[in-house]
Symmetry: C2
Subunit: 337 residues, 2 copies
Amino acid sequence: MPVGTRATVKTLSPRDLLEADAGIILANAYHLYFRPGADVVAAMGGLHKFMGWDRPILTDSGGFQVFSLGGEGGTAKVTADGVSFKSHYDGSSHFFTPESAIRLQEELGADIIMCFDECVPAGAERGYLEESVRRTADWAARCHAAHTREDQLLMGIVQGGIDLELRRESVSRTLELDFGGYAIGGLSVGEERPATLETMQFTAALLPRERPRYFMGLGDPAGIVDAIAAGIDMFDCVLPTREARNARAYTSAGRLNLRNAVHTRDDSPLDPECGCYCCRTFSRAYLRHLLTQKEILGLHLLSLHNVTFLLDLARRARKAILEGRFSEFRAVAPDTN
Amino acid sequence: MPVGTRATVKTLSPRDLLEADAGIILANAYHLYFRPGADVVAAMGGLHKFMGWDRPILTDSGGFQVFSLGGEGGTAKVTADGVSFKSHYDGSSHFFTPESAIRLQEELGADIIMCFDECVPAGAERGYLEESVRRTADWAARCHAAHTREDQLLMGIVQGGIDLELRRESVSRTLELDFGGYAIGGLSVGEERPATLETMQFTAALLPRERPRYFMGLGDPAGIVDAIAAGIDMFDCVLPTREARNARAYTSAGRLNLRNAVHTRDDSPLDPECGCYCCRTFSRAYLRHLLTQKEILGLHLLSLHNVTFLLDLARRARKAILEGRFSEFRAVAPDTN
């Protein structure tokens, strides 16, 4: 899922995303709550109509942002009822509960919405992590009860840091509620990659295969292939557009920094194996010129390519699975981490 | 002509420009001389191939920028031979002559190239203006002699500020050289609009109707209609994309600032009379959201609309002329100045 935090996948229009054949995109409830406000989005006919995208949308509940953005300077305060925090937009005080997070997402109108969970940073004490896992499970039950729109699928979120015992408990508590899909959260908050992978593999194996399994906050090519191997069906990727804005591109021959002088007179396409508009039309020399001159077209073209590259990677993985040759696919998948 | 100063019309891809049906775009020799360098553009197959645009391109000679950018702090020094100036990119010293400006433009490879002229700011003394008109005419002769590529049309530039007598002299000297087209320069440098219009009308009437007449540096809707009425065939417009980056849009009902709060819940299209992708797809409310949140998609969509709006305006003017009803068209043309 390309990430459209503020109801726009940065630098890309809906028709660009259709061209890349994105099947679903993500938007963020926290950001849309503040700007332009869920009431505005609802008055404009909901998120799909507002942003001109009629394929599926998933909204993140805002849990992650409440803690990562509202938590700066320790302003996020957790109680059993919910979280009070200060807006990172203007410092104003706000209080989110599981019920308000569901109401917010129902108002925004995405197809898939997420439970409101507590995100604990890497390295939290076992005692706090345990308390947080139980609170997240209690909140999941309240989200489940608060959810009224039958046209929206609600996903539960498994927490527990890299503690496998807590992950097992979190899975068990979340499965009891019988959600339409299950997400693995709290693993893009600063852990080492091996611990992340181990926890992801362990947790994914405990979740039902017949429901979508979503690993939150993962978007590098190598990580996606690892996650698919672990049975993950969905990811959200802020990386392809963020990397593009830093002039970095994924290619089938590895990652490139397009600002490098080596590309000054390089008339080859960004990735000869990619069929996107950027790769079909422009040379690396032109892209380097645009990016060194801070021209917006450069950010757009690299974003279009990176998003296409990751969607193609996922499509190729899916095809390999269907054709029973995923192991071979994985062995030659790009290592662009 | 939408302006692609650095070989990119800001925020728009070549296919966006094709969709807006731009018949020709402008690029700037001064900027491309410094970044990425004419040698790089030539090595990449010339400007068309470099930027992925196979319709006509016109390059400005750099005369205007040498004086307006290199002239800051008084670094531009004019002699009969040429101009020495400091790069506004890195302060390095450079010397442009009529011959080097033609060589530069031949290397870049546009379809239409411009003589190297001296641009004098508004309010210059009569004596200096007179000297400058004569120097520009001498330089035009040198440009004409230096020009070797038969596949490029070279245009002469008439100068003379708002002094009609000097304009007449400049026209006369320039016509002697028999250029493929004629431009009116030096009128976007700070004069009052009535004096600009009067000088434009006076000068255009002295130029041959069977050659393209190009008014340099004009791009507002009202000005374009005035210029067309004066017999002008070509304009270059940095305004539509610059205005877009300031959240301002031309519409058939006048100019709008999309950051204004009045658009917060406005679900109408930017311009109901416009058929561009922006107007077909998005509400003013969404555009306002994008622009207040500094999302690049907002700059792109407004640029696409503004460029389409001006090209449509020119197309409608052309149609009105062909159908013998330009006066009626002019009477109802948008006053969005």
